[in-house]
């Protein structure tokens, strides 16, 4: 049986560890990196090292940053009384694209998931509780994904936050914009009733 030479096999193995990359894709990427001009491969290696070296978690919100606190936390034009709790830094990017939210964020870095062995102490929950007790935060908006784990995490957080005299809200879950009612699934429709608003 033919095997790749050791350094190439090691590269394939490393790439396979990336999320969403199977053995075939890992081989294709590894061969691409060997074919590509040296400067390109070096550039990728350099970017990885530099990001690892210069990016860390904001001590206030837990987002990835290269300054502490991060630029969002430092921005005094943002509403300091609103904290939006999200699962991952990617969600911040999504919310920022809307330009509708002008408060601050808090990244949990995951959600409760018994099967994956993720419990409350594996998330940035203690940090959130400390942060909101400073007095300046008036409302915590829970913006986790509308699935079982996100829902359970929201319920758990609201139980911890409500005794602290804060307004605790949750983003609406319901029909996608532009979708037709008749094609909506049952779970989404029943949620959209629960989240109905006064007009």
């Amino acid at each position: 049986m033919f095997l790749y030479p050791e350094p190439l096999a090691a590269l394939v193995e490393s790439l396979r560890k990336l999320p969403g990359i199977g053995p075939k894709t890992a081989q294709r990427l590894a061969l691409y990196l060997l074919h590509a001009p040296a400067i390109e491969a070096e550039g990728i290696a350099h970017s990885i090292l530099e990001a690892r070296e210069k990016i860390f978690l904001c001590s206030v919100c837990g987002n990835f940053t290269d300054v502490d606190p991060c630029v969002l936390c430092q921005d005094v034009s943002r509403d300091q009384s609103l904290v939006c709790v999200v699962e991952s830094p990617r969600d911040i990017i999504a919310f920022e694209r809307t330009r509708d939210f002008r408060g601050l964020y808090h990244v949990l870095h995951g959600v409760l998931s018994p099967i994956d062995g993720i419990g409350p102490s594996d998330l940035k929950i203690a940090e959130l509780l400390q942060r909101v007790q400073g007095g300046s935060v008036k409302e915590v908006i829970l913006a986790l994904n509308p699935n079982v784990e996100g829902g359970a995490t929201s319920v758990y957080l609201s139980q911890l936050l409500k005794p602290l005299n804060l307004r605790v809200t949750r983003i609406a879950h319901g029909l996608p914009v532009g979708g037709d009612l008749e094609f909506a699934d049952t779970a989404t429709l029943s949620r959209s009733f629960l989240g109905r608003q006064e007009l």
Binding site: I115, L129, Q130, V148, D185, T186, A187
Partner: protein, 270 residues
Amino acid sequence: MGIYKEEAIVLRSMAYGETDRILTLFTRGAGKVAAIAKGVRKPSSRLRGAVQLFSHTHLVLYAGRTLDTITQGDADETFGFIEQDLDRLAAASCFTELIDRLTMDKQPLPKLFQLLLAALRSLEGADPDLLGRIFEAKLLAALGYQPQLDGCVMGHHDGWQAPASGVVDVGPVWFSIERGGVLCPDCAASCSGALPLSPATVAVLAYFLRTPLDRAVRARVEQRSRSELASFLRSFITYHGDVRPRSWQFAGACKDKAKLATDGVLTPPA
């Protein structure tokens, strides 16, 4: 197999690629099936509501080489109460994780499907802890590991029977996890690693094994038997199934919920 329809419960759901999820399904007719739900993480996906974790759902699938593809779906029951309570989330996760880890792909186990469905349906009103024990006992029976509780597991030893509960001063009933049953006093003396159980606990276990789940959940069980049964069933499952589900740890952590909460709230900023 081409295109087929199945009634399924979603045991596991993992994000995959940009917008897909890989699901572990437990189906009524085909047992455990790995399937991909494409585009299901996009809000516009019509399949999304039908493939949520723990959902009881009717699916149309297309058989593939390694993964089947879900093409249509309609959720019957989503058990929305599970996310309202960590103890219930922990219990439901234990059910699904045990089935996932103790069954093989595409091995039809319709009785086990019915057990899981009944357990999820009972979870809303039942004590999640007790329901967990009933589920574990019945799971063992459904997989062919039913603990033997009537008569010594080593053979016919003078018609010896485990003492009935309520009899005072009878001492413990000895159980061999390895052999999978109770031992008469003679065999217990010569068997290493025999486990002492109180007669009441053995009686509760026997009751759980012979009573339909929806009735068994109404049993009143003393705290001592509860904890004895919990550690007994876990040792039994770990020994015979060679698994130690992660959800068990989470369930334990939920017990310390109050502590976790206060740790978070009361720790002064460093």
